[in-house]
């Protein structure tokens, strides 16, 4: 086998024209370390977000999870900001990590063309698992970005979910195999020294026989310059998107978020998810003839006036979308538990809620009876606008926005557990 002979350059086969003086195990390991922290956070927040839909109740997207759903648990309703923080973190951190992933892939590109293609069965299998790692991470990023920007949403939930498992299988193996190398490379140079070294003092890392170019070109950027470039790109992505989850003054900076604009400063001028017009809701369907139907031990039909006459509660609660954007508002409405009692239901059990636009979701018993769960009639002291779900919408603390149905029509409390 053609191996490196003492003193001579290692045999790199036909693809050996790598010239970049910047590539090296230290730089790769810095990117690797960032991803080693970031990717597990992405995986866990993703799993929690899936659990928040509680697919076991049978109404969420991608209910068919198989063994990958073994971890599922009863989704919580407290603290009320939990889903908002989890999903905001998942989407924002995912976007911020994209430049780091690209940098990491750039830094290990010579390995793709390594020669000979494999040295042993073990090495071959290892490279095969990298298809899962590289294909998986790019697939997860692309499906996520297409989804939050409303382009190509077919199979998002199943693709992103199963893709994440396949990716993590490869990721765990990759980390196990490379962890010692990463630690050794990180210890080979001091970050503080690197941050003080400008272009004039930059020399390529000592040859490692794979990442460092055999005959590097003169450096055109320092290692701290590359870190600043990648970090700066991540920072730009953060500033230009995070505001749609964090809200406040930062929202208007989220120039590449989908929900950074508002139509004014009135009580109903906060971001909308699906306008009434887009789902065919007309003022006629929500006028004086509108009734909310409750089905339990008995059937009750209530007008908006009758609902307003019930003992109402007010709470500051977020609506938080799977797409990562969120907004907290002050809602006033009838507790779902109160409506259950009106329908003759005394014990905690799930309920199927349905809306005029034929959307329908099953809420768990915990969610129906949670403090703060309500059929909201007013927001920030004013009646709900048609776009925000007039005459009435459901608000459940810490639930995905997709569970906060607008233009409610019916609640059925008799769903089996």
């Amino acid at each position: 086998m053609a191996r490196a002979t003492a003193g001579g350059p290692p045999d790199r086969g036909p693809f050996s024209r790598w010239k970049s003086p910047a590539r090296g195990p230290w730089l790769t390991s810095v990117f690797g370390l960032v991803l080693l922290v970031g990717i597990p956070i992405e995986f866990v927040t993703g799993l929690l977000s899936y659990a928040a839909y509680d697919p076991r109740l049978g109404s969420g997207p991608n209910p068919d999870h198989g063994l990958f759903g073994l971890y599922l648990f009863n989704w919580v309703t407290s603290p009320p900001w939990l889903y908002r923080v989890i999903e905001g973190t998942h989407v924002t951190l995912g976007l911020v990590l994209v430049p780091v992933v690209l940098a990491k892939l750039w830094s290990v590109m010579p390995k793709l063309f390594a020669w000979p293609p494999w040295r042993s069965v073990a090495h071959f299998l290892e490279r095969l698992s990298l298809v899962l790692v590289v294909g998986g991470v790019v697939f997860e990023m692309v499906t996520g970005m297409l989804y939050i920007d409303y382009a190509n949403r077919t199979n998002f939930y199943s693709g992103h979910f199963y893709g994440a498992w396949a990716f993590m299988a490869g990721f765990v193996v990759h980390v196990s195999v490379k962890f010692a190398d990463m630690v050794r490379a990180l210890r080979s140079r001091r970050l503080r020294t690197e941050l003080r070294t400008g272009l004039a003092g930059t020399r390529p890392e000592p040859s490692d026989g794979s990442l460092v170019a055999p005959a590097p070109a003169p450096p055109t950027i320092s290692r701290r310059g590359i870190l600043a470039l990648v970090g700066g790109t991540s920072l730009a992505v953060f500033v230009l998107t995070a505001g749609q989850s964090i809200g406040g003054a930062m929202r208007s900076l989220a120039l590449f978020g989908t929900h950074y604009r508002s139509s004014g400063t009135g009580p109903n001028d906060f971001p909308v998810n699906y306008t009434a017009a887009s789902v065919g809701i007309t003022p006629a369907a929500t006028g004086t003839s509108w009734r909310l139907v409750l089905v339990g031990a008995r059937r009750v039909s209530l007008s908006r006036e009758q609902l307003l006459a019930l003992p109402l509660v007010t709470a500051d609660l977020p609506i938080a979308c799977t797409e990562g954007w969120s907004t907290q508002q002050r809602w006033t409405g009838a507790p779902l538990a109160e409506l259950a009692r009106l329908a003759g239901i005394k014990d905690v059990r799930p309920a199927r809620i349905s809306a005029l636009d034929s959307h329908s979701v099953v809420l768990s018993g915990t969610q129906v009876w949670a403090r703060g769960s309500m059929l909201a009639l007013r927001v920030n002291g004013a009646d709900l606008s048609l776009d925000h779900g007039f005459p009435a919408r459901v608000i459940v603390p810490s639930a995905p926005g997709a569970h906060n149905l607008k233009w409610m029509s019916e609640i059925v409390f008799s769903e089996p557990t």
């Binding site: 698992s129 294909g135 998986g136 790019v138 199963y162 992505v237």
Partner: protein, 179 residues
């Protein structure tokens, strides 16, 4: 154990770990096969790999090479004209002042392509109630600001380098003369 090392090339933990990894991936594949449009999931997976390794990476590598060549050509011209009043440090390399805004702008374009190209304008309008047209303007504004900021930083660097050079070259600079 020795036979495993010889014929496989690594220890038993390595083999078990990789087999477990492929088992999980294979199970994920069987779950996706149960989906209606599973073909599109695999198409996306392969498309992502191929696009990154054989389109995006060669493209940005080539762009960077062109940029470097342009800088070298300019540097060479300076040398030929041999301007004594503009020494090497005063001709601070400008290539990174192009790379920074160009990379950030290109990554933003790639990441938010569906918004910028109005790929999803119908859904976007129905979902948010706003027009998707604004993102191209946003991207151009951000790109303009990045290049302007980078150009400003370059001018400041150039000014500082020239001033340092003038001070060092001045006849009154006794400390330098003595050295």
């Amino acid at each position: 154990m020795k036979a495993l090392r010889r014929y496989y090339g690594a220890g038993p933990a390595h083999l078990v770990g990789l087999l477990a990894c492929f088992a999980v991936a294979a199970y994920a594949v069987t779950r996706v096969l149960g989906e209606g449009a599973w073909v599109s999931v695999f198409q996306w997976f392969v498309a992502c790999l191929v696009f990154h390794d054989f389109v995006a990476w060669p493209a940005y590598t080539a762009a960077d090479r062109l940029l470097l060549r342009a800088q070298q050509r300019r540097a060479g011209r300076h040398q030929n004209r041999s301007l004594p009043e503009v020494p090497a440090p005063a001709r601070a390399p400008w290539v990174n002042h192009v790379r920074f805004p160009a990379v950030i702008s290109a990554v933003l374009l790639g990441m938010f392509f569906p918004l910028i190209s109005r790929l999803s304008r119908a859904v976007y309008l129905g979902t948010t109630g706003f027009s998707e047209n604004v993102y191209l303007t946003n991207w151009l504004m951000v790109t303009g600001a990045l290049f302007a900021g980078s150009a400003l930083a370059y001018l400041v660097r150039l000014g500082l380098a020239r001033r340092r050079h003038r001070r060092e070259a001045a006849p009154g600079a006794a400390t330098h003369a003595r050295r």
